[in-house]
């Protein structure tokens, strides 16, 4: 797993590549905590190059979504495909976390 954050104005794009799973979540946790604490208005999580996610990875992103939302901001996920898309669909999280993508696919 590798990741990269790009800040612009009041928003931030977080790109996560490779595998976001029980092994790699701890490596990104500090970055997620900082984003969540920042009171940032808009977080876009780009998963276009994510190969694999597991329930730990989903949990970490849902937690980010809730915490940013609690401070008045918004998190959305884009680029979902293959295995990560299958998991998000199963849990009906695509509608909540990736509404733009969900509309585009409909």
């Amino acid at each position: 797993m590798t990741y990269e954050t790009t800040r612009a104005n009041e928003g931030c794009v977080l790109q996560i590549r490779g595998e976001l799973d029980a092994v790699s979540v701890p490596e990104i946790r500090g970055t997620l905590d900082r984003l969540a604490a920042d009171g940032i208005k808009r977080v876009i999580v780009d998963l276009g190059d994510l190969r694999l996610i597991d329930s730990s990875g989903v949990g970490a992103l849902v937690s980010l979504y809730k915490r940013v939302g609690a401070l008045g901001g918004r998190v959305s996920v884009r680029g979902l495909r293959d295995q990560p898309l299958a998991i998000f669909r199963l849990l009906k999280l695509d509608r909540v976390l990736a509404p733009e993508d969900a509309v585009a696919a409909a």
């Binding site: 029980a22 329930s55 295995q83 669909r89 849990l91």
Partner: protein, 170 residues
């Protein structure tokens, strides 16, 4: 049932990647024999998801509070189905007692993902505990949820948790 591939690794998270890559290569082998089937990507996604959660649970829950034991993974590649059996020597559990995930879940998704992504799931507690996962390959054989993009069979409102039959007869 065709050819069997066996893998043994220590039940620690750092071995998750080895387990998944072996299963993934086996899954691709299954489809190399019937390369015309367009569902290969979807099936791979489902099987990886389920086996990944099962491995995590053995490492995190099964072997909690002690040194990790082994996980034995048997993969049987048949012409119409892929069966993956995971055996561990850790704590047992009752899958029927696991509640459905929340609407915005931060944990508690693993068993639901396993049940929903596979066609057959069977858990036999014991020494070893045996979790048997079966995925039908291709269109025939009632896998009607395949072939329509990446929609998984499970819907949260249907309670597939019951697929995980707790059959204690060995």
């Amino acid at each position: 049932m065709g050819q069997v591939i066996k893998l043994e690794v220590v039940g620690e998270l750092e071995h998750r990647d080895i387990a998944l890559r072996t299963v993934s290569a086996a899954c691709r082998l299954a489809y190399a024999r019937q390369a015309h089937i367009p569902e290969a990507r979807e099936t791979l996604a489902y099987v990886m998801s389920a086996v990944g959660e099962a491995f995590n649970n053995i490492a995190v829950h099964g072997y909690r509070g002690g040194p990790a034991g082994m996980v034995e993974i048997c993969i049987a590649v048949g012409p119409s189905r892929l069966a993956v059996e995971l055996r561990d020597y850790g704590l047992s559990f009752d899958p029927r007692s696991v509640p459905m995930p929340d609407e915005l879940p931060e944990s508690g998704m693993g068993v639901f993902i396993i049940s929903s992504m596979m066609d057959e799931v069977e858990y036999r507690p014991g020494h070893p505990n045996v979790l048997r996962l079966v995925k039908r390959l291709g269109v025939a054989g009632g896998s009607s949820h395949l072939g329509s993009g990446l929609e998984a069979k499970g819907e949260r409102t249907e309670g597939e948790g019951d697929d995980l039959r707790n059959d204690s007869s060995k």
